[in-house]
């Protein structure tokens, strides 16, 4: 860390201006244009180089302490920087998990030695962390996980299978939630650890997603030794710590097309597409779809702006921010489908040099995961109904039964 301007002294507007200037200066090398057509390996190398420069400029982990290489800034600075970064299509996604959850959790729960040794290089992007949460039989229902940890001297032996783990094939370390006591009800028998992905017994296999993307993995853990000093939180508190992990990024950043084409681009494409020789934008169905999307975007922008104001004043944003992902994922999917309809027979093309932000086919084919990862549409509706509206929980017959007695 050197040559970093004193952040506390500057206004938010000055901060954003400085962020924009820096981002603009590196966009030609790292922005969306520089990523077109890159294979996974080359893209990862680009993401690593970007993270190194971002950390040197003081924009990595904006809310984490400067002594570990963070920005020492505020939540609102982080959100505003993230928005600018998203707009330029910077390759932040490679470190999204690593720096979003595991590293802040290590700062909260790790031993001093581990923090000093691992946090600074992680923030610089030299080390990567993954999150071993979901399993084949535990997705939305995380507490149903089966990976076991049993005592072994000063530590634990972990055995099981994790799934949907982003970037595990490149990860140096992981946080993991595992079952340490199968004789108690499922939420009560979990414990949280961090572990070295290079430990004997860890095997990673990449799971190819439907559009061919290579970021998710299954991780097999075969009698992997973890010292008890790497336990995070009390034995049996794993579910609580896992929820705490997921709450860190409680106000997520993104654009208002969720990575798909903007509504301006949609309108422009619909204006140039023809239906029996007439501009598709004159078609009533197309107009209704675009109008619906514009109304939704405006409502979400208003919600977002109020949330930023609240966060900027140190207050909790309203619960209505939780509808954003649910709305935008679905919207991107139906608009992608409609835009392809407007292209007609030529819409079947899937051009390898194109990306989701500018291309209907890529937007459409890569969006299904967005409606599942980070809370399925169905779970998000349940959360709104239960947490905001106060409706009863679903029937959960396994909730109070010892885990090893669940049929």
């Amino acid at each position: 860390m050197n040559e970093v301007a004193p952040i506390q002294a500057e206004s938010l507007a000055d901060y954003v201006e400085r962020a924009r200037q820096w981002l603009d200066s590196v966009t030609p090398r790292f922005g969306s244009g520089a990523q077109r057509g890159l294979e996974t390996e080359a893209w990862v190398a680009l993401a690593r180089a970007y993270q190194k420069e971002k950390a040197a400029a003081g924009f990595a982990c904006i809310t984490l302490p400067r002594e570990f290489g963070g920005g020492g800034g505020t939540e609102i600075q982080k959100i505003l920087f993230g928005q600018e970064e998203f707009k330029r299509g910077m390759p932040w996604g490679f470190y999204g998990v690593s720096l979003g959850m595991p590293v802040p959790m290590l700062l909260r729960y790790g031993e001093k030695d581990a923090i000093d040794r691992l946090v600074p290089p992680s923030i610089r992007g030299e080390l990567l962390w993954c999150q071993l949460f979901s399993e084949p039989a535990a997705g939305s229902d995380l507490a149903a996980l089966r990976t076991r940890a049993v005592r072994d001297g000063d530590g634990w032996r972990i055995t099981g299978q994790k799934l949907w783990t982003s970037w595990a094939q490149y990860a140096d370390y992981a946080i993991a939630v595992v079952r340490t006591d199968p004789t108690v009800p499922k939420h009560a028998g979990l414990t949280f650890f961090w572990l070295d992905m290079k430990s004997p017994g860890v095997e990673v296999r990449t799971v190819r997603k439907l559009a061919g993307e290579n970021e998710i993995n299954e991780v097999f853990l075969d009698n992997v030794y973890v010292p008890d000093s790497q336990r995070m939180g009390a034995v049996g508190d794993g579910f609580k710590v896992a929820i705490e992990t997921l709450m860190i990024e409680r106000y997520a950043v993104g654009d208002d097309a969720m990575g798909g084409p903007s509504l301006e681009l949609f309108a422009a494409r619909a204006a140039s597409a023809r239906i029996n020789g007439r501009p598709a934008l004159e078609d009533g169905q197309v107009r209704a779809a675009l109008a619906d999307a514009l109304v939704e975007r405006q409502g979400l922008r208003s919600i977002h702006r109020r949330a930023l104001t609240a966060i900027g004043q140190g207050k909790e944003p309203g619960p209505e921010g939780s509808i954003r992902k649910l709305r935008l994922g679905h919207r991107r999917q139906i608009l992608g489908q409609l835009l392809l309809d407007l292209l007609g027979p030529d819409g079947v093309r899937l051009d390898p040099s194109e990306v989701a932000a500018t291309d209907a086919a890529w937007s459409w084919i890569t969006v299904p995961g967005g409606r599942i990862a980070g809370g399925t549409d169905e779970i998000l509706r349940n959360t709104i109904a239960e947490k905001i509206l106060g409706l009863p929980q679903d029937y959960r017959p396994d909730k109070k039964v010892p885990f090893n007695q669940i049929p």
Partner: protein, 376 residues
């Protein structure tokens, strides 16, 4: 319909002169809550639904006494000058209980008169509640607001679609063509001009107008002027729609927690939970649009306001339509009875969505205004 109560505006002005803005706002909302709690009942509202052109005169007189018609009207025009942001929360409370008072019509008409520099006495009487206005902007055969009625030689001739409050109003702000140019005209209503036909929601005091050379004062000229004032009406009406949507959600949630089938509250079933979660989303999208339109109106924006008003109109209409129909569905059999509350909202949601022009018309306005929303 003139109020028999003494206008309280001078006294209110004196009282408010010593109050902070948020104190005034709190006072208005307290008054509104108290009024709907003490004076409004579903029984009374049902009685209004029975007869075409119904209007709660006693409630209107109370509202006049409290100065509500004057709240947003500029002081120069005879109002209290508290702005649209003071009126919106009031409308929201009235909307919760499907209370129909011509506050939006009065504000829009008085403001249009003041902007046009005509009929200052009428504007002041609207603020004081001695006069009452209706917005007669729709016509048979037109989904949107393009008029076919004619203005010539100081007179308007043509048929207007049922307009809220036209059954009881003293004046109407009427759209008509002068040659090929649409504009707005002030018409003093006589009983021979109006016909209170049965409507989906008889509590709107609606009447169709048949104008046959009715004396008319030109107020504003040009299609943009018509859109401007209609958009203000839409942006404010959105708050009544948001109030109604909120009420639908809250009674549906309460019912879903209480009503049991198959051994569980119906609110424990995802079919109901997800429906109500969708209702919540529609409400918050609509509210977000309504907030943005109101702020834009207060800031005096032009192009951006028109686009935001269209978004608020569409968002709030969609939210209230969705919430009201699914409120009936959530209530099941009881929801389709006359005695239950949901049909008040089902009716009100639809007439709100129609009175200022149908969705296809506002979608066109929104798409025309899309460039102003790129970074909104």
């Amino acid at each position: 319909m003139a109020s028999t109560r003494t206008p309280q505006l001078p006294r209110l002005r004196a009282t408010m002169g010593s109050m902070m803005e948020d104190e005034i706002q709190t006072m208005l909302l307290d008054q509104a809550r108290r009024l709907v709690e003490t004076e409004v009942s579903w029984q009374r509202l049902k009685a209004l639904l029975e007869e075409p052109g119904s209007f709660d005169v006693a409630l209107w007189e109370k509202a006049v006494e409290l100065g509500w018609p004057a709240v947003a009207i500029a002081e120069e025009a005879g109002g209290l000058g508290l702005g649209v942001s003071a009126l919106a929360p009031l409308l929201q409370i009235l909307g919760e209980y499907t209370v129909s008072l011509p506050l939006v019509a009065g504000y829009v008409t008085a403001s249009a008169l003041a902007a046009g520099g005509v009929a200052p006495d009428v504007a002041a009487a609207l603020a004081g509640g001695e006069s009452m206005a209706a917005l007669a902007l729709g016509e048979p055969g037109e989904s949107g607001l393009m008029p076919a009625a004619r203005f010539a030689d100081g007179k308007v001739t043509g048929a207007k679609a049922p307009a809220a409050f036209a059954a009881v109003a003293t004046h109407a702000l009427v759209s008509a063509l002068d040659g090929a140019t649409p504009g707005l005209y002030l018409v003093e209503l006589g009983d021979s001009m109006r016909e209170a036909a049965p409507t989906l929601d008889n509590a709107r005091a609606a009447a169709a107008l048949r104008l046959d050379g009715a004396a008319a004062i030109p107020v504003a000229s040009g299609w943009n002027a018509v859109l401007h004032w209609a958009s203000i009406a839409a942006a404010l009406t959105a708050w009544e729609q948001i109030g109604g949507t909120e009420r639908c959600l809250s009674i549906s949630v309460a019912y879903a927690k209480e009503r049991k089938v198959f051994g569980q509250p119906i609110g424990a079933f995802q079919a109901i939970k997800h429906k109500l979660a969708d209702m919540y989303q529609e409400l918050e999208i609509g509210r977000g649009c309504a907030i943005d339109a109101l702020e834009s109106l207060e800031a005096g924006e032009t192009d951006r306001f028109l686009a935001l008003a269209a978004a608020a109109r569409l968002g709030a209409s969609a939210a209230y339509d969705f919430a009201s129909r699914e409120t009936i569905q959530t209530h099941g059999g009881i929801g389709v009875t006359w005695e239950a509350e949901p049909h008040h909202h089902y009716r009100r949601a639809r007439v709100h969505a129609l009175e200022l022009g149908g969705a296809p018309f506002w979608r066109d306005l929104l798409l025309d205004g899309q460039p102003a929303l790129e970074n909104a």
